[in-house]
């Protein structure tokens, strides 16, 4: 090989750039990682103002038509509900029937939807199966069921192919005032929409019964809406639940008197859905406040245009204060204040140099933006929907939850009417905008992070931070890989190339990584086993979270040892003498490649998880060096490296990472070791991809880093 080198033609410039980068990978990776973190911190500064991208929406172009007549009717409806609620406590019969009757009175097609809440259970193979397979429910208990009332207005100008959904969740057992008010808002809008002539999409009002959970009710209705089963409720009911059906019939007739059909009614494809809620707590601010919740499962967001329309109408039309969720604990962070000041002063300097440059925001805005961004990242990373709007996203319907917090005390009647009018007009405006749509929402962004209700960071910007963070990974992998191969060249050169030199060693030189790949492969198989272990553990009855976590960890360790004994040593085709002490370099190279592939995959599935995960994994992977070298060296540099390594691996272990983060945000007093189990449980209950990420990308990477640290030859 050595002889042939001078004969090789000079590599092309792009190859030379690659070689240059690989040879300076240390400097490059430090610069890139630092730039990645800085870019992440810069995101609130780089956020753009939202704008309405779809022309057809035209929010606020028409005067609101909702009159005080509609509102007073709605007010009466709210009062009726509260009276009924006070009168017959415990009887769940009344409210759905009453809502249905009211809907029918307004002139809509009404039907009941009876559903059995599905228990979220961890099923190991659900992760890998297709998203749309029909779920088969086995053992329905007859005792637990809920009834949604559904009203549909057929659009006079439409062909019935599209629909807009309004959802008002309420607890049919005990309705709170806020829930009653949200029903009131929906009813006022509904009564208006039965009369208007401009309606081109069907309006579906789903009064969701939340006694078994808000999400479950909406999800059950959506599943039945999209499953081609035809026929009435009786066909859905198993024969065994006879007495329930009877009670259902009983309840059905006396309340309404009319023949409300129990046939499942459908409108067209859903264009958008609004979940309307009224908060029970009154807001402290001087104006009514509208909170927007948008995160669906796995960090999916509705189209930004929908949020924009709501935001525009709420601020400019109804004078509401719009806010999105924030991490309050970041508000008094000194670090952020300092950073904000730095960015502000940089912005001032930039503006002095060239007034065209609009860079930098005030400190307060920066902190606000960062807190919102952090919350947005966290909610998306968790992969658990923040409300019942999440159920819509699984069917590609854009949906958000509007939670309005009134400022008045609940018994102030005049303010209540005004509040209903405002809420109603907001919803009416949004419906009218969405009604104008000719196509599905597609114009604006699906992949974005909010830094305030009217500022966003688009995918093109936030991807830069992530790309900078992970860019060192392939480079370092390549440099380690070439190191591992180069080692071979030199060792071969040292040896006289006698004819007896093993030819295998020469020919397998570039395939040496297979040995490292085998180790990595075994660890990934192990991680798949660890992922599935909770399925067994959750079967154990009466187990506290802490115990479950300990069992989980112990079983994982045992399975690792077991796999190592059966797969780890049974075959190794390269003898140890050939590998020398560079084995860890190849192993690290393969580990880093695995982490890179995993992170890139995750960034597509759920960007926020990948970003947060990259912050933990990337330094850990890049730093990992066998401790034995550092200890042998015994210099300040190597000792700091060893200390950093130990710290990073400690923090990188998923349970400790969780506990440390939780402790930092909520104080260490309230932290319990079992919390991690609860957290993981909630993740797999919602089939969040974050669970898969933690178990199948983060954990094996961590294990391999520990393996490299403990490496000895």
């Amino acid at each position: 090989m050595a002889e042939s080198e001078p004969l090789k033609p000079k590599p092309r410039p792009i190859v030379r750039i690659g070689i240059f980068l690989i040879s300076h990978s240390l400097l490059f990776s430090v610069v890139c990682c630092a730039a990645g973190v800085v870019a992440l911190l810069l995101l609130p500064v780089l956020a753009k103002n939202t704008y309405i991208s779809e022309n057809a929406l035209m929010p606020g172009s028409a005067h609101p038509m909702l009159s005080s007549q509609d509102v007073s009717e709605a007010n009466k409806f709210v009062q009726d509900i509260t009276i009924l609620n006070l009168k017959s406590t415990g009887a769940s019969i009344g409210i759905p029937g009453m809502v249905a009757q009211h809907m029918e009175g307004l002139g809509a097609e009404v039907s009941y939807h009876k559903f059995h809440p599905e228990l979220n259970k961890f099923h190991p193979l659900h992760f890998f199966s297709g998203p749309d397979h029909g779920k088969i429910q086995e053992n329905w208990t007859c005792s637990s069921y809920g009834i949604n009332a559904v009203g549909i207005i057929r659009a006079p100008r439409g062909d019935g192919k599209e629909a807009i959904v309004l959802v008002t969740p309420y607890n049919s057992l005990k309705i709170s005032l806020g829930e009653a008010l949200s029903l009131g808002i929906a009813s006022s809008v509904f009564s208006l929409l039965t009369r208007v002539t401009w309606l081109a999409k069907d309006i579906i009002w789903l009064a969701a019964d939340t006694q078994h959970g808000e999400y479950a009710a909406v999800d059950a209705w959506l599943r039945d809406y999209h499953t081609p089963i035809f026929g009435g409720l009786e066909t859905l009911n198993p024969e065994t639940c006879q007495e329930i059906s009877n009670s259902y019939e009983l309840k059905n007739s006396p309340v309404t008197g009319a023949d409300i059909s129990d046939v499942f009614r459908r409108g067209g494809t859903m264009a958008a859905a609004l979940v309307i809620k009224v908060s029970d707590r009154s807001s402290e601010a001087e104006r009514d406040t509208l909170s927007i919740y948008a995160e669906a499962s796995n960090g999916q967001m509705p189209n930004l245009d929908l949020i924009n329309v709501v935001n525009y109408l709420a601020v400019h039309g109804q004078g509401l204060r719009v806010k999105v969720e924030k991490l309050w604990s970041l508000h008094d962070s000194m670090l952020l204040k300092v950073l904000g000041q730095i960015f502000e002063s940089i912005g001032k300097v930039a503006r002095k140099l060239n007034p065209e440059w609009k860079f930098g925001v005030p400190v307060a805005d920066y902190i606000e933006g960062t807190a919102t961004l952090a919350s947005s990242l966290y909610r998306q990373a968790l992969g658990v929907p923040t409300g019942s709007h999440g159920a819509f996203r699984d069917y590609q319907v854009d949906a958000i939850t509007l939670e309005i917090s009134p400022t008045f005390s609940p018994y102030n009647k005049g303010r209540k009417t005004e509040f209903l009018l405002r809420g109603g007009r907001l919803v009416e405006g949004v419906v009218r905008s969405v009604n104008n749509l000719l196509e599905k929402f597609h114009q604006s962004f699906f992949l974005y992070l909010l830094t305030s209700a009217n500022k966003f960071v688009s995918v093109g910007v936030y991807m830069i931070a992530f790309a900078l963070l992970v860019a060192p990974l392939p480079l370092v992998a390549a440099s380690l890989y070439s190191d591992g191969t180069k080692q071979d060249f030199s060792s071969e050169k040292d040896k006289p190339t006698s004819s007896s030199a093993p030819v295998d060693a020469v020919s397998f030189k570039s395939w040496k990584w297979l040995h490292a790949a085998k180790t990595v492969f075994v660890v990934y198989i192990w991680s798949a086993i660890v992922t599935l272990l909770p399925y067994i553990i959750s079967q154990v009855p009466d187990c506290t979270p802490t115990h479950s976590l300990i069992i989980w960890i112990l079983l994982s360790v045992f399975s690792l040892l077991f796999l190592r004994s059966i797969l780890g040593f049974s075959f190794s085709f390269i003898s140890v003498s050939q590998l020398q002490d560079k084995e860890w370099a190849l192993l690290k190279s393969v580990t880093i490649s695995g982490a890179f592939v995993g992170l890139c995959l995750m960034s597509i599935i759920n960007f926020a998880t990948a970003e947060i995960g990259a912050l933990l994994i990337v330094p850990m992977c890049l730093m990992a060096t066998p401790l034995i070298f550092d200890v042998k060296d015994w210099s300040l540099r190597s000792l700091t490296r060893a200390a950093c390594n130990l710290l990073l691996t400690f923090v990188g272990f998923p349970p400790t990472a969780y506990i440390v983060t939780k402790g930092l945000f909520e104080g260490f007093g309230s932290v319990n070791v079992g919390d991690f189990w609860n957290w993981a449980e909630s993740l797999w209950m919602w089939t969040s991809a974050t669970y898969l990420y933690v178990c199948m990308v983060h954990l094996p990477c961590w294990a391999l880093c520990v393996y490299i640290l403990l490496h000895h030859h």
Binding site: P9, S129, Q300, Q396, A517, F571, S593, I604
Partner: protein, 519 residues
């Protein structure tokens, strides 16, 4: 791919039972996976089942035929009518079974909702594919043994006995067979009930027949493969070369030139004994290189006969439904005109979804001629290595074909294993610097592709470009793998002239050095 290390380790142990145990382990692994069809649901993946290979479409075609309609009605089935007669009964038994219980409407409903009713029959179906895979692997194995014997002979004639000692360690056929059996793509396409294992089987049958000079078998395999999926028609070139020249050997020119060179330099420096020895060897080696026409003529005759036979059978089975013309229109026509633009891992669907209608015919011709253009230069350049040529052809076809699936990839990966080992024995494989990169690339693409598909189809947050990006990455990897190998095989390709010249010099230099040390 991950499993390759296990195979390589096996080879080192060199125990016969190791191969069989791994082979049977792979069969058992397949059967276990086949037991969970609903959960894994591979048959619904666009990467696994294309309009041509989908088993569900085959079931639909059979159902149509049973109810005395044309199996090609409704553009559902596009395969061969023979396949319908052979595999069809397996599908129908399970639908008959359901039809006993349910009304007609429900059968259709069930059929569309879920193709995997009736577990036992479903297992029988997958058993057929598992057997097909296993037989293919066995054919690869014996082809490998055959190639190796031929190669050893040619090395002997070159006088590189030292190399021979090493290559005896390596049972190339075993490894290639195991690479084929344990390749995740093979497993997926087998478990996913696509018909590509059967296509692979007939292709391999043809190559095996050509390698072992069983002319009727080679002709049968080639005719059937062409009948099933059209693209293997181009394999006629390597098959004829195999029959004419015999299995792979170092280039004839190298043999002649090198021996002249070495003779001339040896004459000046070394004693005459060796020179005479070399001359003898040179004479020996020149002898078997002549192109023999006899088997080729036989092959043509047999191919005509088999083709006639197959066509008669087809004509009988599609007699009532429009005859052979309809069949050609619905099978070959469907392949050539790229009618189905449903996304797959190829690149054509995207292109033809975008292109204007009046350019469509032009681009159809361009894309298909693309494959034909490469035939001749490659055949001229690689005529001394027909098996490698077959690998390159299959790889190119699987990249440019209209409905590619991972099953095609599985086949050429297996053949790659076949060539790979030859390469190891001549130490060229050591130059395979890209191996790690390619490996990571394949892992990445095979994981990305379902995610992108999900993002586009189910979540609606992505669009077609997302999925197409992975298809392009996949095509790039294939290009990488083909060209890196071709350049190792010292082929002058237009794109990689510089690299291939370097590799050619390398290879020549190495051979020279080795023959010098051997001498």
């Amino acid at each position: 791919m991950e499993e390759r290390e296990s195979e390589t380790s096996n080879k080192k142990k060199n125990k016969p039972w190791a191969f069989w145990s791994w082979a049977f382990a792979s069969v058992i692994f397949r059967l276990i996976l086949a037991y969970f069809p609903r959960n894994l649901n591979f048959s619904a993946r666009p990467e696994v089942s294309t309009p041509l290979t989908s088993f569900r479409r085959l079931a639909e075609g059979y159902w149509l035929k049973q109810s005395s309609m044309s199996p090609y009605a409704g553009s559902m089935y596009h395969g061969s009518p023979l396949l319908l007669s052979i595999l069809g009964p397996l599908t129908v038994r399970r639908y008959l079974w359901t039809s006993v219980n349910c009304s007609d409407v429900k059968i259709v409903c069930r059929y569309f909702m879920d193709g995997n009713e009736g577990l036992p029959n479903q297992l029988i179906c997958s058993l057929v594919f598992v057997i097909a895979d296993f037989v293919t692997a066995m054919l690869i194995r014996s082809t490998g043994l055959n190639l190796q014997m031929a190669y050893n002979q040619s090395l002997k004639s070159l006088g590189l006995v030292r190399l021979l000692e090493n290559s005896e360690l390596i049972l190339s056929g075993d490894i290639a067979a195991l690479v084929y059996l344990w390749n995740p793509f093979t497993i997926i396409s087998c478990v996913g009930l696509s018909t590509s294992p059967i296509e692979n089987l007939v292709i391999m049958l043809s190559l095996y027949g050509a390698c072992t000079r069983r002319v009727p078998l080679a002709a049968f395999g080639w005719v059937l493969a062409t009948h099933l999926s059209l693209y293997p028609a181009i394999l006629i070139v390597p098959v004829i070369l195999l029959l004419g020249y015999g299995p792979d050997a170092p280039p004839r020119k190298l043999l002649l030139q090198k021996f002249r060179e070495s003779c001339s330099c040896d004459c000046s420096s070394q004693d005459k004994e060796q020179t005479s020895l070399h001359k003898e060897l040179a004479n020996q080696s020149v002898q078997p290189m002549l192109f023999s026409w006899k088997p080729v003529v036989f092959f043509t005759l047999w191919a005509c006969m088999w083709a006639f036979y197959v066509l008669v059978l087809c004509a009988i089975s599609v007699k009532q439904y429009g005859g052979l013309r309809e069949m050609f229109k619905r099978t070959y026509g469907f392949i050539l005109t790229v009618e189905d633009l449903a996304p797959n891992i190829g690149v054509l669907w995207y292109f033809f979804a975008e292109v204007f209608d009046f350019f469509r015919n032009f681009f159809l011709i361009v894309f298909h001629v693309n494959i034909l253009f490469m035939l001749l230069p490659l055949a001229i350049r690689l005529n001394h290595r027909p098996c490698f040529l077959a690998f390159v052809y299959i790889a190119i076809a699987s990249m440019l074909k209209s409905y590619p699936s991972v099953g095609d990839l599985a086949l050429y990966m297996g053949l790659l294993g076949l060539d790979q080992l030859l390469r190891i024995s001549i130490q060229l494989y050591a130059d395979m610097q890209l191996s790690f990169f390619l490996f990571c690339g394949y892992v990445g693409v095979s994981l990305l592709s379902p995610v992108m598909h999900n993002l586009w189809i189910w979540r609606g947050t992505g669009n077609a470009n997302f999925y197409f990006a992975t298809a392009m990455a996949y095509a790039c990897l294939q290009v990488c793998i083909i060209f890196s190998f071709i350049s190792f095989m010292k082929t002058l390709t237009i794109i990689l002239v510089v690299e291939s010249v370097g590799a050619m010099l390398n290879h020549d230099r190495k051979l020279r050095k080795l023959s010098a040390t051997a001498a």
